[in-house]
């Protein structure tokens, strides 16, 4: 039960951060919090391979989101 409460806190909290965001950095931070829920889910399954895949995917999407927001900042959209 506590595991699911933790999962819902991360999911709903991430979306709440996105909802009240006033800059694109905040949107990325909210997405990162929701991705932590995506890492916590495989941890509940008890399989380290799933957990490693989730963490590596988290790194990859963070790199892409940060590169995108850097490009947007360079063009003056942030």
């Amino acid at each position: 039960m506590t595991e699911l409460v933790f999962l819902v806190i991360l999911l709903a909290g991430g979306m709440a951060i996105v909802a009240v965001a006033n800059s694109l950095i905040r949107v990325i931070i909210g997405a990162e919090v929701a991705i932590m829920a995506g890492i916590w889910g495989p941890a509940l399954s008890g399989d380290l391979s799933l957990l490693a895949a989730a963490a590596v995917t988290g790194v990859a999407e963070t790199v892409l989101m940060v590169a995108t927001v850097y490009r947007l900042a360079k063009e003056g959209h942030v």
């Binding site: 991430g14 006033n22 950095i25 008890g46 963070t62 927001v69 490009r71």
Partner: protein, 135 residues
């Protein structure tokens, strides 16, 4: 046992929502990553390798966000409206009605094929990121 960590995570999310500085919010994200990593470690101590992995992931992520936020300090007051996304998160609430996690067999081995696939994925995303930010 996970209740204190849940409360800490909730407080950190509230800090991220309330604080006005992007850099402080990114640093709070680092602490939230350490909290989640500690929760994974508390859930099954066989996953102590995952603690290091998740901690490193979020320290690097938050540091990059700090650099980008510092590079774009020209704040304007135009708000980004994403309230439908918050309403969509309410769809996660029925998850609380699911039955709890039963006693499970913990598998602490990593498939060696996964290392190759992760390396290819990371290399590809780094190439895309470099092309995106240096053109």
């Amino acid at each position: 046992m996970l209740w204190p960590l849940s409360i800490i995570a909730l407080l950190l999310i509230l800090v991220i929502i309330r604080v006005r500085d992007n850099i402080l919010a990114a640093i709070s994200l680092t602490f939230l990553g350490v909290t989640v990593a500690g929760a994974v470690w508390l859930l099954s101590p066989e996953f102590s390798a995952a603690f290091i992995l998740i901690t490193l992931v979020y320290i690097v992520a938050a540091l990059t966000l700090v650099v980008v936020a510092a590079a774009s300090l020209s704040e304007n007051s135009r708000t980004v409206e994403m309230r439908p996304a918050a309403l969509a998160s309410l769809a996660a609430l029925p998850l609380l009605l699911m039955p709890g996690v039963e006693q499970r067999v913990v598998d602490a081995r990593v498939d060696p094929l996964l290392i190759l696939l992760s390396a290819v994925l990371l290399l590809f995303s780094f190439i895309v990121a470099v092309r995106l930010s240096h053109d």
